[in-house]
Symmetry: C2
Subunit: 353 residues, 2 copies
């Protein structure tokens, strides 16, 4: 087992941009001759894992990249939780009662889930704003896998998927963005309200339930049918370009009109993170958002957006258990989280006015 996968570094966390955190492409694919997962029995699901494992071995050989193939039934709860916290697997994959698996490239830029909603979900993750690059990577992986796997494909409809919203290209493109400025000036909600009309959807860093947590949002396309991949990616990119522009304007506005208040909030967040003895993951996310904003404003020195991404991961519940090789109760975990944060923030300085 590749130990690296349980460390809080991932390809997507390595970005240095403090607005666009990461880019993600997901392709939904199914194997011809098998029922969709919701109608699959355990025996046939296992056959898919076997086919998948062989195809991934071929992919590995062709691309000179190391892939680890994890059958989820063989992992304990915490390790599965870590994969989820890293975004390498999804909540439905974790919840599935079928034999499921995920194949992860050594740098975690590629993670292929088996027997989630579709037989295959090819995911590519890159740091910062690199949707087109992520798409090229996904495309390449898809091409190589298709040499070994016969996909369910219809000449008129395109790739067949379990859910009709994915039919066609089976593509979902997402950008994770950090929008504290728009949230503070209360312009995030109206902006997001306009997204469905553009065929886009907005979720929190860990799905619907975490909407707004840490001022992080995932913006993705909603439908795939009737649009080609380039159209989807270009549209998402151009909308997010607008969002980034507005975020920058809102930060500028805040700096002009509320310099002291903003400076104070950032410094207080640093003070709390660097000194608290117990901290929930929600509060960590909130305070780190201000730290990240402080980076952009030059108030916080000695840490990068990459460090913050990694610390955010390292502070997630399963990561804490995994890194301490213990299963903590929530209050113990809040204590360990605070300890971890204090340690990681030792290098930080606050710029003096």
């Amino acid at each position: 087992m590749n130990g690296q996968i349980f460390k809080p570094q991932s390809k997507w966390t390595s970005g240095l941009d403090d607005i666009i955190i990461s880019s993600r492409i997901r392709l939904a694919r199914n194997i011809k001759g098998f029922p969709f997962p919701q109608r699959l029995n355990s025996r046939r699901a296992k056959e898919i894992l076997d086919i998948g494992e062989q195809a991934v071995a071929y992919l590995s050989q062709k691309t000179k990249h190391l892939y680890s193939f994890y059958r989820l039934q063989e992992l304990d709860q915490q390790k599965k939780g870590v994969l989820l916290e890293k975004h390498l697997i999804s909540p439905p994959l974790l919840a599935s009662e079928l034999p499921t698996a995920v194949a992860v490239r050594e740098d975690e830029a590629v993670a292929i889930m088996f027997n989630e909603e579709d037989h295959l979900r090819i995911q590519c993750f890159l740091p910062a704003g690199q949707l087109a690059e992520a798409w090229r990577l996904a495309n390449k992986v898809d091409d190589i896998l298709s040499e070994k796997i016969t996909y369910a494909f219809d000449d008129k409809l395109g790739y067949l998927t379990a859910c009709p919203t994915n039919i066609g290209t089976g593509l979902r493109a997402s950008l994770m963005v950090h929008l504290p400025g728009l949230v503070i000036i209360k312009q995030a909600a109206p902006l997001f309200d306009s997204m469905p009309r553009l065929g886009l959807t907005v979720r929190g860093i860990y799905g619907e339930k975490t909407q707004g947590l840490g001022n992080l949002f995932q913006i993705s396309n909603q439908v795939t049918l009737g649009q080609n991949e380039e159209e989807i990616i270009n549209k998402l990119n151009s909308v997010v370009d607008q969002v980034v522009k507005q975020e920058k304007e809102s930060r500028k506005k805040l700096q002009e009109n509320y310099t002291n208040e903003l400076y104070d909030s950032i410094c207080r967040s640093y003070g709390i993170l660097a000194n608290a003895r117990t901290i929930s993951s929600e509060e960590m996310m909130e305070q780190m958002s201000l730290l990240r904003l402080g980076l952009d404003m030059g108030v916080i020195i000695g840490i990068t957006a990459k460090d913050i991404n990694e610390l955010m991961l390292a502070g997630q519940p399963n990561f804490i258990n995994e890194s301490c090789s213990k299963i903590f109760n929530p209050s113990q975990r809040d204590w360990e989280r605070a300890k971890l944060i204090r340690k990681k923030l030792r290098s930080i300085r606050v710029g003096e006015e």
Copy 2:
């Protein structure tokens, strides 16, 4: 003018106790042949200041202590504010339209107000729990002054005072106590409710309006008639002994049942004080109460109760204006206050668990 008086050190701030901050004795005296101040005209009020100044000169000579005699009408608003924040003068003295004055001993253990509610109010301030010592000092000052001043005195009633509650000994004894433990476990209010029955009264650090601010309380006797000085002082001491005992028990209880929460709160207060860029005097008082509690618990290292007393004074509005030789608006003052606190807390460390 004695410059020391505008520095945030005073005799009463020099205590190292983190429950009983300071002790204060006040004697109300009036001069025979003059109406009480509420019926005094400006000319006669000035006569009292002249008598007072001569008597203080005699006191100075007899005790080998330097006294400064400040006529309030000659001081600007900020300097008067500083005297108030140091407790050397009272709000009524500041508000009076008569010629008023205060004579202050060089170590600020003695401050005599002229033309407050009574012609003379002899105040003695000592650090920590030293009521009896403060009383002895006040008594000595009173004796010496009486060699030069003929007090209004009635053989049956004792010293005559403007307000009947002060008739008799004219003595008010007060202890300033810090009770965060009782406040946190919500036992302070019921305790204070029982005080009037014991003939005692509880106020905030700067009077009624500041009740509970920074978990600091002044406990004093309410009436003086029919009791001698020793009775008053002994009763106050014995009640406050009980309060101190209960405060210690409540801290012990908190440490046993909420160690982590308490430790976390103290460390967060430190983190905020050491990093905030803008802070109101109210928040300063609140956060410093936790810092003071942290001293007692050994969590906060590198600072003493004396340092905290002085910082608390230095952070008061008039002190900030005075020390920067400027008249700031409230938001500028909050900025300067945060700057001052950060500077003073540099030496502090937080003990690691």
